[in-house]
Amino acid sequence: MRIACFWFVLATALGLLSAVARAQESPYFVTYDHHMEEPGNVEIETSGTSGIPRAGQHFFLAPYTEFEYGVTARWTSEFYLEGQTTAGDSTVFTGWRIENRYRPLKREHLVNPVLYLEYENINEASKILKEVEGAAPNLSSPNALLRQEKDHELEGKLILSSDAHDWNLAGNFIVAKNFSQNEGVEFGYAAGFSRPLATLASAEKCRFCRENFSAGLEFYGGLGSTLSFGLNDTAHFVAPVMAWMVSDDATLKFSIGFGLTHESAPVLLRFGYNYEIQGIGGKLSRLFGGNP
């Protein structure tokens, strides 16, 4: 519970601090589309994944904070810190990740590819389920045991995404190699579609107008590995997703994922709060008396 309180306080404090920012976020939690961070901007997102357990498992809450920076208009870099608390067990820090997304094509096309590369330095107690690949995650063992198993993992994704008639359609194919364990090369997928609830902006500033909401559905799961390719012993989820732009600078996101196989957690609740700080370089320069 302490870690949940810490994340809540952090999100609230940062939200209050972000005076100049902007947000128009995709509602997805797992699926990536082709929209990149604006160059020079930083987006800070605090999210949590919570699992409602099967018999023999425990309720868990896995918060993570993500710092996303637009290096250029076609290159976005992200850094994650993550933790996890399990009811009746313990609260643990589960590691960090760094990822880069690069969009090779300059213009919008019918299908827009993005190349994704991530390095993960986490342990097996990680339960944020930011992506699902390989076999189903272990949700039953105690944290003390899981955190001893380190994962140094390199992960690549091919992201294909399309905007058509205000709908976004996106599909991700995932390939991951854990260098700490002999698991072969693991595979996974994520796909989703979403749409804003209104497509015409009203003249007035409003928070509950339909234009500030977008909704969709995403699917994600594992496809086994080179040692055992296929759907055997894999987790799969279908999850309605919703995003609400609560102010010009912040978006709240929510999702309920339903496990489709016995190996999946029956229900995954996800929530996220993100906000964007524009022109972070200039702001830091001004802060230290420079001339941005």
């Binding site: 929209h35 905007d163 003249a203």
Partner: protein, 131 residues
């Protein structure tokens, strides 16, 4: 006269206005895009929503009145070189961005919202200086 010219150039530069903006010659919409009419052209009131979107999405680089920022090499949207473009061309540029020069794509906005921004761009008062 020279002093006047210098003042005309330097004062806007001093406040950040990008009168020296020169468009990227490779950033050209296809003819099919240029010819597209604005579907909201007969709904001028929608420009107010476009202004709201402009302030949220575009003002960071183009300033609230569309002057542009010389440091960012962002376009002064009041200049004839911008205002003479068709609605379809402006829509295409908002949609695709000019990623080589740092302008991101705004295809994440619904199509009608992008057209609303085009409507608003037409309300920006053109600068007196001809380019």
């Amino acid at each position: 006269m020279i002093a006047g010219l210098c003042a005309a150039l330097l004062i806007p530069l001093a406040v950040g206005q990008n009168l020296l903006y020169w468009p990227d010659p490779t950033w050209r919409p296809p003819e099919s895009a240029t010819a597209k009419p604005n579907p909201l052209a007969n709904r001028p009131a929608a420009a107010a929503g476009g202004k709201k979107l402009f302030l949220r999405e575009c003002a960071e680089c183009h300033e609230k009145d569309g002057n542009g920022i010389a440091r960012k090499h962002s376009a002064d949207l009041q200049l004839p070189v911008v205002q003479q473009q068709t609605d379809g061309a402006l829509f295409w540029k908002i949609t695709n961005g000019d990623t080589g020069r740092g302008m991101p794509s705004f295809s994440k906005l619904p199509e009608r919202e992008r057209w609303q921004i085009v409507l608003f761009l037409r309300t920006l008062r053109p600068a007196e200086q001809a380019h």
